[in-house]
């Protein structure tokens, strides 16, 4: 069919112009020398004015990393990464640390404005029904290696909530950081987590005290800007007993011909009766139609449901990155604790995604739900990889997994690799999987009613992802729906 050639042409013509976040900001930077060695680790730690225990912690991680090998088991392929050919620290130069938003470099503020990120402490949602307080979102903005602004800190402090850059938490709340850092994702957990532990520069820290329900959405917005740098942020969220928090993260990067490495670690700790909802809209630069450039997104995200009846819910919409390697997981230790994973992953052009989750059931009557929607277009390769493990003490544990793949065009691939390990005969594990295509008759039906080809694809894809999108906070859901459509523009001829 000529439609296929047409598809490829259209995809090529729209790709470059479609990534709307591809600009870069010209700003004076403070950089570490290129390369990675013990001195760089010391440099970063010194820059952050860290206590000795943290430097030692980093050095142990670095030693572990040196003895490890890059994992190659994922269904992704890429040329060898030269870890010495990158900068591990890049921060916008600032004379003094800004105490308030007024002191933040206006160039940075403009950058976030352009990205549509609210760095002003004002209501971001207008026209919401009913009077009373308008909903607001507190934002921590991480630019390359450092956090440049955090909003609503004062208001959150009134509730006893700590929301700040992790580097600041190391200074102001060392006891909390030391108590929890690396307890969910140990330094030597895997190659990229070890790298992150050695060189992480910033990220968000959240602590919700006992019995507090966080009054607003917390969010971190990650931006890679500088050339030849990697971003290694570290996020640590602790929800104390009976507390609740909803946290969102978003990310973008300029369009560059080189591949840039993003190796983050996210650790969540939920104590008794606590609930953490963690939502991601991942929109790193995916590279161009030929697969030049784009972010290598090698991320370790894990939650420990330590307390009884605690709950962690991961929702992710993965549309960006050249390669995504990511398995947000839950260790369900507490009795009756609950883990959820809702995922939409799109690969278009030459993007590759190997993503899924691990649900480790340790406690009795623990429950997990996995809903994964993979969409492949262009020459994209999309793999769901998941593990459900039921330990011997997890009597009455339950898991339900649903993996659906949608194919657009005939040059892409969808793969499902589910692992189930059950050591308790009272557990119940269910797995459902489907693979489908956007059918020609569906497209024609929509177009006959007046929708353009692109609108039709967007509508069908959004319908396919509905179960996941409805888990997102409302303001994010709208953005995510638009993003899905943009990511797939031109994917059908």
């Amino acid at each position: 069919m000529p439609a296929v050639t047409e598809t490829i042409d259209t995809v090529q013509s729209v790709t470059e112009s479609q990534y709307k976040w591809g600009f870069s900001t010209d700003i004076e930077m403070d950089m570490a020398p290129k390369g990675l060695n013990e001195d760089i680790v010391r440099f970063i730690s010194a820059k952050k004015n860290e206590p000795q225990w943290l430097l030692d912690w980093r050095l142990r991680a670095f030693a572990a990393w040196q003895a490890m090998e890059e994992p190659r088991w994922a269904m992704v392929s890429f040329p060898p990464i030269d870890y010495q050919d990158a900068y591990y620290y890049a921060a916008p130069k600032q004379k003094v640390a800004p105490k308030s938003l007024d002191e933040v470099d206006p160039e940075l503020l403009r950058t976030y404005e352009k990205l549509g990120i609210p760095l002003k402490e004002q209501a971001v949602l207008a026209g919401v029904e009913g009077a009373g307080e308008s909903p607001a979102i507190a934002v921590d903005a991480v630019f390359d290696s450092v956090s440049v602004a955090t909003t609503f800190k004062d208001r959150l402090e009134k509730e006893g909530i700590i929301f700040c850059p992790i580097s600041e938490a190391v200074q102001n709340h060392p006891e909390l950081v030391q108590r929890y850092l690396g307890t969910v994702v140990p330094q030597s957990d895997n190659y990229f987590a070890a790298l992150n532990s050695a060189v992480f520069t910033d990220g968000s820290f959240v602590y919700i005290p006992k019995g507090v329900r966080c009054p607003m959405e917390l969010s971190t917005y990650f931006r890679i800007n500088a050339k030849s740098t990697g971003q290694f942020e570290r996020t640590l969220i602790i929800a104390d007993e009976r507390s609740q928090v909803s946290y969102l993260e978003g990310c973008t990067a300029p369009m560059r011909d080189e591949n840039q490495l993003h190796a983050a670690v996210v650790e969540l700790v939920a104590l008794e009766d606590a609930t953490i909802k963690y939502s991601t809209v991942q929109n790193w630069y995916p590279g161009d139609a030929e697969g030049r450039g784009g972010i290598y997104n090698f991320v370790t995200k894990r939650a420990a449901c330590r307390g009884a009846r605690s709950k962690v819910s991961w929702t992710q919409v993965e549309t960006g990155s050249a390669i995504t390697w990511k398995y947000p997981s839950c260790i369900l230790q507490g009795e009756d604790s609950v883990g959820e994973f809702y995922s939409v992953a799109i690969t278009n052009n030459r993007q590759q995604a190997d993503t899924g989750t691990k649900m480790i059931h340790l406690g009795a009557r623990t429950k997990s739900t996995i809903v994964s929607k993979g969409i492949s277009a262009g020459r994209g390769q999309n793999t769901y990889r998941g593990l459900v493990r039921i330990g011997p003490k997890a009597s009455g544990a339950r898991n339900f997994t649903q993996c659906d793949s949608l194919l657009i065009g005939d040059q892409c691939g969808a793969h499902t690799v589910p692992y189930i390990e059950n050591r308790n005969m009272t557990a119940k594990v269910e797995h459902e999987a489907t693979t489908s295509r956007i059918a020609e008759d569906q497209l024609f039906y929509c177009r006959q009613r007046g929708l353009t080809q692109e609108e039709a694809v967007g509508l069908i894809v959004n319908g396919f992802c509905r179960e996941v999108l409805k888990e997102l906070p409302m303001e994010f859901a709208v953005e995510a729906q638009k993003l899905l459509q943009i990511s797939l523009e031109g994917s059908v001829g």
């Binding site: 439609a3 059918a439 020609e440 008759d441 569906q442 024609f444 039906y445 929509c446 177009r447 006959q448 009613r449 007046g450 929708l451 353009t452 080809q453 609108e455 509508l459 069908i460 959004n462 319908g463 396919f464 992802c465 509905r466 179960e467």
Partner: protein, 247 residues
Amino acid sequence: MLDIRNLTAEIDGKQILRGIDLEIRPGEVHAIMGPNGSGKSTLSYVLAGREGYEVTGGSAEFDGKDLLAMEPEERAALGLFLAFQYPVELPGVGNANFLRTALNAQRRVRGELELDAMQFLKLARARMKDLSMPEDMLKRGVNVGFSGGEKKRNEVLQMALLQPKLAILDETDSGLDIDALRIVADGVNALRGPGFSALVITHYQRLLNYIVPDRVHVLVKGRIVRSGGPELAEELEASGYAGDLAA
């Protein structure tokens, strides 16, 4: 309104339409009858612009414009509506969302203001009441889990909302019981007027008791072999297509 001249078309290199001539004037309802495999559905898909149906000759003008040069969605925005013989399911896509997206897409092309959710709901509810359709059909996925009759009624609801200038009903009566048939016919008859034309494609005369056509054409082997008034349909009901097939 619709002017088809010597239209020929093929699928996968096999000729199906062998020279169709048909003129439908504003306000007229025409019926096309014919045995299975005569090219009835092909004609409707060619007019709506479905991929894979290749026009090899002739012309089709809609409101004076070259229909065959347009994309399917352009034809829709111009006022051409096809009620599908087998309405397609769109899992996860809410019926209300689908209908509003379609309506607004057409309005946009025509330079009209788009309807917001509230305006749309009001309109949709009114039309559904006319068609005796339960309101929960708006909340369900497009055609997902609908019975055959519900799917056909949903087509008529879409037609009532989109208000086309020309509706092509492709065997909309197949698989309908008498009550559903009546509802479908009422939906079409409600739109009848000087600004609305219809092409009713059917295998049986039954539907034409409720939608009385101005003209009836008999399609056999890709050609219109006979045309006449409503009485032709009754004649066919009695005698069948045997005579036409032999000719």
